[in-house]
Symmetry: none
Subunit: 152 residues, 2 copies
Amino acid sequence: MSSQYTFTGEFTFSIDSKNRINIPATLRKQFLSRDKKTFVVTRGIDQCAWIYPMSEWEIIQKELKELSSLSKTNRIFLRNHLRHANIIKFDNQGRFVLPQSLVDYSTIKKDVTIIGVLNKIEIWNPHLLKKVDQSDEVDEQSYEELSERVNI
Amino acid sequence: MSSQYTFTGEFTFSIDSKNRINIPATLRKQFLSRDKKTFVVTRGIDQCAWIYPMSEWEIIQKELKELSSLSKTNRIFLRNHLRHANIIKFDNQGRFVLPQSLVDYSTIKKDVTIIGVLNKIEIWNPHLLKKVDQSDEVDEQSYEELSERVNI
DNA sequence: TAAGATAAGTGGTTAACAGTGGGTTAAAAT
DNA sequence: ATTTTAACCCACTGTTAACCACTTATCTTA
């Protein structure tokens, strides 16, 4: 089964003293009624937080179950992604509380950058995102190859 | 699936104090009813903004969905292509609001040049376009390569 | 070709809504 | 029982988008 969501766009919001973050209305309105404003926040592979609408998370969980625990990489991956998964709902104003552990992990202070990435939403420390952006961590060649496969 | 649109022509319009830009009627009338006046504005590879009718964007989106986020290159590629994509509708007068980030990126001041380029529409700062035009940025060789693939 | 009619481009106003902050009560933990 | 935490409610403010109005251009028809 494939993804039902196609989040896009970038937003600059702020986190308040109670660790509340507002989900941009444009993204929030895309939540299907069957997800009832419920989603999962977890560690991203990069230094950010990932948000999956509940039904998306269920798809991923199913895929994760297929992974053999015999492989060390798989074990680490499963551990890192499942133990930090929190089931969350947003309040009447459209906000949710980002768990302290994820605030720490993504080194979020006052401002946050929120990015829609198809089936998930990413929460970033703006400064960190900028740094990752600028650093040439991706080797150019594989990027080129990719852009040839995907027809933009 | 291949493109349904063939935009052509060049137009000089203006952007107002609220970042509103009018889509030329000639281009607007080509929008298919199923796209319901909805489109995606995003960063062009050159220093301009790109507009894709929704159904065109969906073709791209479908390709992007094939990319797994386990690959680092994929993650960065996806982020960079999706974060600047804004889903937009035009108002009853046929205008749309160009997000500030794209106004900045394409250094648009007062006048804009709008160009139809097959399946997308490009929004340019006229002065910048002129400069790019005059400078022979395209090296002859890649033109040669292109001529072998495309039969003009 | 001129005049009226229709459509296109541009500008401003307003009312709804999104984002943010704080306070109060209920629940949980110590 | 007391302290801490989290959910809920209310309230303020700035932005946005829907609406209205005017001018200029284009098309049509006499």
